[in-house]
Structure formats: structure tokens, C-alpha cells
């Protein structure tokens, strides 16, 4: 009565735990999708991307050109004030330019500033951090001293000094100042990522699976790529998710102080900077870009929090 097939049935019976098992990444994705705030954030970001990408299509007016007979400082239509113009849904700025169009074009700056420098920061930071952590020695020492110095500098101050120093140079004028901002953010940011990666590598490098890989003759580059990197990925992803809004915020603050994007190119911080002197008279020209910044920052924060919760192995669903 004990036949071969019964062993299989028995194993099935013995595994009385019936809850589904999911892969690690699948599990993380599942948890992320269940987080309503994170999903909401993703939708907002996707919307921002679409608006940014198709701004020329969506925007009703040219954001830079000053109209012939400018209707300046118009209020948004729904305020019901006497200073509205039916042509401009959200009003106009002090030069008569349509705010809706400017907001849309400004989103391009934010999206680009969010992702490109972050990509550079991570590409550079992870590589250096991994090499420093794995090989140790003088490279590691130099890196640590370097990061100590950078840490003594508050991030933003450093950013400010770099941007302010070079904004009058030819380099600073590329892409209306965007290039300089990319580079500045990258310079300030890569060190933190390198340090984080190095920390991860140091912790992982003593684990048995690395020893095992080494003992079968794997080259360091292979170990780093196939073993260390995937395991170090989780905190890096979360850091990246928060680095993007950090970069957006950096640009917004710089533009607000007047050293960021070169006008007339719009960015949300730029619009605040321009509209601020007339805040009392024309508040919405300042409030609207402020709201845009807030919404985008919140969206990224929710996604970042959601990612961190989803990737934390200790969390229970």
C-alpha cells in the first residue's frame, strides 16, 4: 500500500502550510502596490511625466514669449476677482505670460533635474563605493577622508557655492543653467551614495556566499556585479527614490534664490522667485508653483516610503 506515487502525495500532505510563497522582488512589488499612498504617488509622478513630455502639445500658450498687449498679473478664473482674463485659466505673471503654460514647461525642468543627476550620482557613487569597499586599502582611505570633508559641508551650501561661482561662466550658461545644476548636484551627491554602497559592501563581503564565489575563482568584477550588487540593492533603491525629490528641491531652492535656471526659461522655483516681489498683489503667481512643488515632493515621498516598507524584510503584511 506504500507505492511510489504516495510519497509525493505524502509530501504534499505534510506541507500543511498553504499560504502562497512569493519571490523576494515579487513580494516587494505586491506590498508596494497595496500601499495606497505609494500608488497615488506613482500616479501623480506618471502624470507629471506625461505633462512634461507633452508640454508643447498641452500648453495653450508660449511660456517664454511676452504677448503683444500683455494682460499682466491676472488672477486665476475661479477666484472671481475683477482681475481675470477669460483667456488665461490660472492667470498670468507679471509679464503677462500664461501661468498654465509656464507651469507645464517648468515641470520638464523638474522631471529632468530629478532623474538625470540622480542617475549620474548613482552610477558614479555605486561604482566607486563598491570598488572602495571591496578592495579596501588606500582607495578606501582616500574615499573616507573625502567624505568626511564633504560631510562637514552642508549639502545645500556646497551646491550654492558651486552654482553661484560658475553661473557666469560659459559652462554655466549651457541649457539655461541646467547643465551646471546637474553637475553641481552630482558632485555633492555622489559621495553619500559611495559611502552607503561601501558600507553595504563591507557588510556583505564577509558573508559566506562571497567566500564561496571567490573559492570557485570568480573574478572581482563578477563578484561585485552578480553577488554584491543585488544584495546591496534594496537600501540603494530607497536612497535613489529619495534622491530624486532632493534634486528637484535643490533646483527649486537655487532658482528661488536667483541662482538656478536662467530666465526666461520657467521652473517652479524660478516662478516663485519672479513672483515674490508682487506676492501681496498677485499671490497665485507664487502659490501655484508652490503647490506644484509640494504635490510632486509629496508624491515622491510617498513612493519612497512605500518602497522602503516594501523592501524591508522585517515588515509583516
Amino acid at each position: 500500500m506504500a507505492t511510489a506515487s504516495t510519497t509525493q502525495e505524502r509530501s504534499a500532505e505534510l506541507n500543511v502550510l498553504v499560504r502562497k510563497q512569493r519571490s523576494l522582488w515579487g513580494d516587494a512589488l505586491y506590498r508596494l502596490m497595496r500601499n495606497k499612498a505609494a500608488v497615488g504617488g506613482l500616479i501623480v509622478i506618471a502624470a507629471a511625466f506625461i505633462i512634461a513630455g507633452f508640454a508643447p502639445l498641452f500648453a495653450p500658450y508660449n511660456p517664454i514669449e511676452i504677448p503683444q498687449n500683455p494682460a499682466s498679473q491676472m488672477e486665476p478664473l475661479w477666484t472671481g476677482s475683477k482681475y481675470t482674463d477669460p483667456r488665461y485659466l490660472l492667470g498670468t505673471d507679471f509679464l503677462g505670460r500664461d501661468i498654465v503654460s509656464r507651469l507645464m514647461y517648468a515641470s520638464r525642468v523638474s522631471m529632468v533635474v530629478g532623474f538625470i543627476p540622480t542617475a549620474i550620482v548613482f552610477g558614479l557613487g555605486v561604482s566607486v563605493g563598491m570598488v572602495a569597499g571591496y578592495f579596501g586599502g588606500w582607495l578606501d582611505q582616500i574615499l573616507m577622508r573625502f567624505t568626511d570633508i564633504i560631510y562637514a559641508f552642508p549639502d545645500f551650501l556646497f551646491l550654492l557655492i558651486i552654482v553661484a561661482s560658475f553661473r557666469n561662466s560659459p559652462f554655466g550658461k549651457i541649457l539655461d543653467g541646467l547643465m551646471l545644476i546637474f553637475v553641481a548636484i552630482a558632485i555633492v551627491g555622489w559621495v553619500g551614495v559611495a559611502r552607503l554602497t561601501r558600507g553595504q559592501v563591507l557588510a556583505l563581503k564577509e558573508r559566506e556566499f562571497v567566500e564561496a564565489a571567490r573559492s570557485v575563482g570568480a573574478k572581482p568584477s563578477r563578484i561585485m556585479a552578480k553577488h554584491l550588487l543585488p544584495n546591496a540593492l534594496a537600501p540603494l533603491i530607497v536612497t535613489a527614490a529619495f534622491a530624486v525629490p532632493g534634486a528637484i528641491l535643490g533646483e527649486a531652492t537655487l532658482s528661488f534664490l536667483g541662482v538656478g535656471i536662467i530666465p526666461p526659461t520657467p521652473s517652479w522655483g524660478q516662478m516663485i522667485n519672479e513672483g515674490f516681489p508682487l506676492f501681496a498683489a498677485n499671490p497665485w503667481a507664487v502659490l501655484l508653483p508652490a503647490i506644484c512643488i509640494s504635490v510632486v515632493m509629496l508624491a515622491f515621498t510617498f513612493v519612497g516610503d512605500g518602497l522602503r516598507d516594501a523592501l524591508d524584510p522585517r515588515m509583516k503584511t
Partner: protein
């Protein structure tokens, strides 16, 4: 009982040695900071004397200014000259305002210090109780409220918050003036906005730390001895929970220092933060150098004080090794 135990644990001599050692280590860091700042400022094209695009100065005039300020000397000489002066506590003369830098700093620093300290105290007074209560009353209105506050406060940048605040309280309700400093009304908005970010951050950390501490096994042991819940929380949990919080107060304070210049610029508060931004935009080297060094110094001190406080709170850490 607690104060006596704290003091006993301090071993003044050891702590003093540790502090001195850390301060000495600070010097090479400050050196590099000054080097980098100087290099960047010098690398910037343009001259502090040529700021008016409508009326470009004559080269001869610029040359004279340069000689007066010693800006025509080779860069490394300028640097050495500057640093030797610094050691004599002479920070030079502001190129733009033609006043000794020490004057400018002396005037602005008390304002910034007051703003910073007020903001820090406000932040602590709000964040710590909020974090503790929201951890104890999880999933109630207080908890959701404080989470909302923490999220908003840490996400939305200070100048954006300032804009909303100004719209509601200044323009709408006419409660506070928008810019300036001097009367208590002037101080309210800048202090509150500056405190907001730090408070949100600290509240979050406090809450997380309390939640973590409450889950620990020793809490179960304390309860198993028949102690009242209140005694368990205050006597056992709180001290453990405050350790991670204490370690972030330092960086939070440093954040206040650096966040102050945005607020000062925004509200036209006459502190060194506002001077700093002006000096960077105008390439006023002496002011830039002096203020940067000052900021860096404060950040190091803030971090050092964190380590000392941590050593006092957690008996497992020996401060002087």
C-alpha cells in the same frame, strides 16, 4: 538619583580629553573646507567689482580695487595671506560692503543664533511629546495627525511652507508682518517655519524610536513584575527611546543652521544667513570664507555634542576609548 548617576558616569577628565581630541581633529577638516571654498570662489569668473552690467567699470578702476584688496597677487599667496590672518582672528574686509568682516558677522550672528535657538527649542517642545504620544496611541487621530505633520513637514521645502503660511497668516489674517525682524510679531513666522522641518523630522524619529523600544523584551519583563503601564513607559521605555533621538538632534541642529539662510533671505531677517547668500551672489570672498568656516565649525561642534550626549545616556558606550 538620576542626576547623581549621570554625573558619576561622566568622568570629567576622560570627557575633556575626548572633546579636545575631537576639536583638534576638526582642524584638518576645516582646512580642507577653506581650501575648497577658496578655490571655488576664486575659480568663479567675474569680479566682485564689476557687478553692474549697465555700467561696466573701467579696467583701471578694477585694477586699483584689486590691488587694494590684494586680489592681484597669485592665488596661493592670497590663500596663505588669508589663512594667516584667520589665525589672528582677522577675517579681512568685505569687498562689497567695505566693512570688516568681523563686524558684519558680529552684527548678524546674534540674530541668527536667536532664531536658531528659538526654532530648536520650539521643535523639541513640539516633536518629542508628539512623537511619544503618537507612538503610545497608535492608529488614533493623534497618530495620524502627527504622521501627517511629519510627512508634510519633512517633504515640503521651507520656502514653500513659508509661502503658504504668509498667504494664510499675513495676507489673509493680517496677523504677522511679512518681512523684517525686531518685534515678537516679526519673529513668529521665521521661527515657526524654521522649526517646522526640524520638528517634523524629530517627531518621526521619536515615534519610530518609541515604537521600537516598546516592542523590546525588557518591556515584557517589566510588565511581568507588576509595574503599572505608566511606570513601564516612563521608567523603562523612555530612556531607551531617547537615545536614537538624541543622536539626531545634532544633525537636526546643524540643519537648522543651514536652513536658516533660506528663511532669513525669505523674511529679510538681518542675520548672517542672509549675508551669506548675498556674499555668494556677489562673490564677496572674505565674507564667503569666514561664514563658511563658521558654519563648518558649528556643524562639527553639533556632531561632537551628539556623541557626548549619546555617551551619557547609553551606559554601553564608553566615551573615551
Amino acid at each position: 538619583m538620576n542626576a547623581a548617576r549621570l554625573l558619576r558616569g561622566i568622568h570629567f577628565e576622560k570627557v575633556l580629553k575626548y572633546t579636545i581630541r575631537r576639536l583638534l581633529l576638526m582642524i584638518p577638516t576645516l582646512f580642507f573646507v577653506s581650501l575648497i571654498t577658496f578655490g571655488l570662489a576664486k575659480a568663479a569668473p567675474g569680479s566682485p567689482f564689476d557687478k553692474n552690467p549697465d555700467k561696466p567699470a573701467r579696467q583701471a578702476t578694477i585694477d586699483r580695487w584689486n590691488t587694494y584688496y590684494g586680489l592681484d597677487k597669485p592665488v596661493h599667496e592670497q590663500y596663505i595671506l588669508y589663512m594667516t590672518n584667520v589665525l589672528k582672528f582677522d577675517f579681512g574686509i568685505s569687498v562689497v560692503r567695505q566693512r570688516p568682516v568681523s563686524d558684519i558677522i558680529g552684527q548678524g550672528f546674534p540674530v541668527t543664533a536667536q532664531l536658531g535657538i528659538q526654532a530648536l527649542l520650539l521643535a523639541l517642545a513640539v516633536a518629542l511629546p508628539l512623537g511619544v504620544i503618537s507612538a503610545l496611541r497608535q492608529n488614533t487621530i493623534v497618530d495620524y495627525g502627527s504622521l501627517f505633520f511629519a510627512t508634510v513637514g519633512t517633504t515640503i521645502p521651507s520656502f514653500v511652507m513659508a509661502i503658504f503660511f504668509i498667504y494664510i497668516f499675513a495676507l489673509g489674517l493680517h496677523l504677522f508682518p511679512i518681512t523684517g525682524w525686531g518685534t515678537p510679531q516679526h519673529m513668529v513666522m521665521p521661527t515657526v517655519i524654521l522649526a517646522l522641518g526640524a520638528a517634523a523630522f524629530l517627531a518621526r524619529i521619536t515615534r519610530a524610536s518609541m515604537l521600537e523600544a516598546i516592542r523590546q523584551d525588557y518591556v515584557r519583563t517589566a510588565r511581568s513584575k507588576g509595574l503599572r503601564e505608566q511606570v513601564v513607559i516612563v521608567g523603562h521605555v523612555l530612556k531607551n527611546a531617547m537615545i536614537p533621538v538624541a543622536t539626531v538632534v545634532g544633525p537636526a541642529a546643524a540643519g537648522l543652521i543651514t536652513g536658516s539662510f533660506i528663511i532669513e533671505t525669505f523674511f529679510s531677517v538681518p542675520g548672517i544667513g542672509r549675508e551669506y547668500v548675498r556674499s555668494i551672489l556677489a562673490l564677496d570672498y572674505p565674507v564667503i570664507m569666514a561664514t563658511t568656516l563658521l558654519y563648518a565649525f558649528f556643524i562639527v561642534v553639533a556632531n561632537l555634542s551628539v556623541d557626548l550626549v549619546y555617551g551619557m545616556l547609553d551606559p554601553r558606550i564608553k566615551v573615551a576609548k
